[in-house]
Symmetry: none
Subunit: 204 residues, 4 copies
Amino acid sequence: MDQKQDKLNQILEAATIVFAESGYAGARMDMIAERAGVNKATIYYNIGNKEKLYEKVLQSIFGNELSNTEEKMRSISSPVEKLELYITSIAEAIDRNPAIPNIVMWEHASGGMSLPEIIAQEIAGMIENLALILDAGEKQGLFKKINPMLVQFMIIPALMFYKTSSPIRDKHHAFPEIARNLPLAVSGKFANEMVRFILEGLKK
Amino acid sequence: MDQKQDKLNQILEAATIVFAESGYAGARMDMIAERAGVNKATIYYNIGNKEKLYEKVLQSIFGNELSNTEEKMRSISSPVEKLELYITSIAEAIDRNPAIPNIVMWEHASGGMSLPEIIAQEIAGMIENLALILDAGEKQGLFKKINPMLVQFMIIPALMFYKTSSPIRDKHHAFPEIARNLPLAVSGKFANEMVRFILEGLKK
Amino acid sequence: MDQKQDKLNQILEAATIVFAESGYAGARMDMIAERAGVNKATIYYNIGNKEKLYEKVLQSIFGNELSNTEEKMRSISSPVEKLELYITSIAEAIDRNPAIPNIVMWEHASGGMSLPEIIAQEIAGMIENLALILDAGEKQGLFKKINPMLVQFMIIPALMFYKTSSPIRDKHHAFPEIARNLPLAVSGKFANEMVRFILEGLKK
Amino acid sequence: MDQKQDKLNQILEAATIVFAESGYAGARMDMIAERAGVNKATIYYNIGNKEKLYEKVLQSIFGNELSNTEEKMRSISSPVEKLELYITSIAEAIDRNPAIPNIVMWEHASGGMSLPEIIAQEIAGMIENLALILDAGEKQGLFKKINPMLVQFMIIPALMFYKTSSPIRDKHHAFPEIARNLPLAVSGKFANEMVRFILEGLKK
DNA sequence: GATGAATGAGATTTCATTCAT
DNA sequence: TATGAATGAAATCTCATTCAT
């Protein structure tokens, strides 16, 4: 039983990496099997087909990594601190699971047609969460009135591009010094600077 | 002569759309040929192979659409106005050529290994441009000191995600009202709000 | 296990025939698959690609058929008998595997650029073998001094052309009676006549 | 008019080289056109198609180079000298037009199905010619009785393999010294040695 | 349950030939 | 007459999936 779960996890981990690297269309079942150290037919036996495997990958990523952000925020009341936590905890999730930004990019690039409803709900929850924070801040006279979607679009895409642009920035010598060799982790300096900048912009 | 250029453009346009929709791995030469209204072999006759076609698409997009931003800015001296123009002209380029954000996402998702040096230089130029604007604003006592990469990451990814997330947001009913049915154009209300927010955050 | 070897052999046999009939450029993977009674993809699964398949054919032909000539000669000491065996055993190998002369011709016609080193060694071994026989005969006062390459060039090409010219000679009515309807086997009358003629020419 | 003939000759020469190098199936109309310095469509306009072009190449080679051997022999009466001339003039023809052995090999390898009747007659004529020489020699008590096909097979294939094996012998280091770096011309030392050896074998 | 082998459908690419000027 | 451009047919090769054990 445990062994079976192990094998399933191996497959899922391998699939996550390969899908993150190559996207759905570019991923090869061969690569996944090899990386997982199992026979290709084993994947079909255990999971079904490429599409189902991809869905499982999406679920494991979004279900496990991003969903617990909300919980952490319950204990905090200050909108400023909540916003800070919102940004840093997303940054940390991304650092913890570097497949997230890649998969999100693949999904966005492809129009997100394979995004399961359950994951859409996850993301929708994040938006609502942020909207509540901003609303509370406004009501407490801390923040000015702002379109939550603008803030959302300035936080999450920035964190993700920071990560996915890393190989591009490092590879090409054309990039200026400030763009090259940035820290790999987005949850450190970069996320903190972002927190400060956004709070500044929100300040009444 | 002109007719040949026409056919090349047809191919390039069709390829741009298909690559934007499906990415490199997912794009089918068949689709591109059909969309361009030419025989598949005509593509091979004119371009060579899939890889070269993709490169040409990248070049046409980045070379034509994004590169002329810089010129527009020459006549303006105020850093505030320059920053405003920076954001709005990128937003307009994206609206004009909706393939841009998709292709950028595909490239980022895949690690950008097929990004030609020429295009890297284009992007590098944009970063340097923004850095100069921010530096000038700082020296004139208008802006506070800020990491230009942070600002860069809060502008361009936001504009692009705004566009690419559109089908995802509209498709899933889970998304809250504020996320659904946003205007298609990013260069209107959204870009203006962004300009205001960023200037606010930069203000000394 | 055995069955896999069987299928490999089927593929190899079919490929040998098709390559012998049509050469590398003219051979069609379709034909080979059909002749072998397997799916085309099976060839790619087992072998890799056309080039590798061709190499394997070359190796099987030269490694299996021609290489054992040398062994047979060990037990014989007389240079005359050795030379006789040299000629007749090559003739027999050619009769046994009629693909040999065709493939040799294709290779010679194309400049032999795809001939693997291993096979070149095989052929080189045959030349050295003949040179030793002639040298021994000379030292024993039986043969006159002769350029071994001349003898080599008068034996092997003759045996091979005998076989490959058969369809040409039989097809065209222009050919004189002595050229038409020669026995199919080269290892019978023809090889014996050759043995006699060459020994005559070598006799001191 | 002359210019047209020039262009036709260019095409024919280029085609001869390419067919000699790559065979019928391996030859590419593109290569031929490029080598001839004309547009591909020009070949089709002037000649028709690949098959007709190949036929013209065969005709030019066999009609021009090999056919005049016979004439040269008329003035000579001695069978010994005639045989010598037979061998050396074929060797010279081969040296003069190095495409001959390659094309002959391609034809033999493929079963010679595209060999036009006219060329078969040419070859048949050579066989009859040799048979007459041997017969005369026998009747004059100079040669022993011999199968003319045996002699034919020991002359022409040897001369041709000498040429076509050259790149193979030189490329592979496995070949013994005596096989490497033989003179390029077959009409010198090698043809003379052959003449001597064959006359020796024929001597009564 | 697990896997090496096999494959059908379809992808990219090639090439002799034709078209339009 | 000549040619740059275009193409239909067919070639090689790939890949998600299934089969047989």
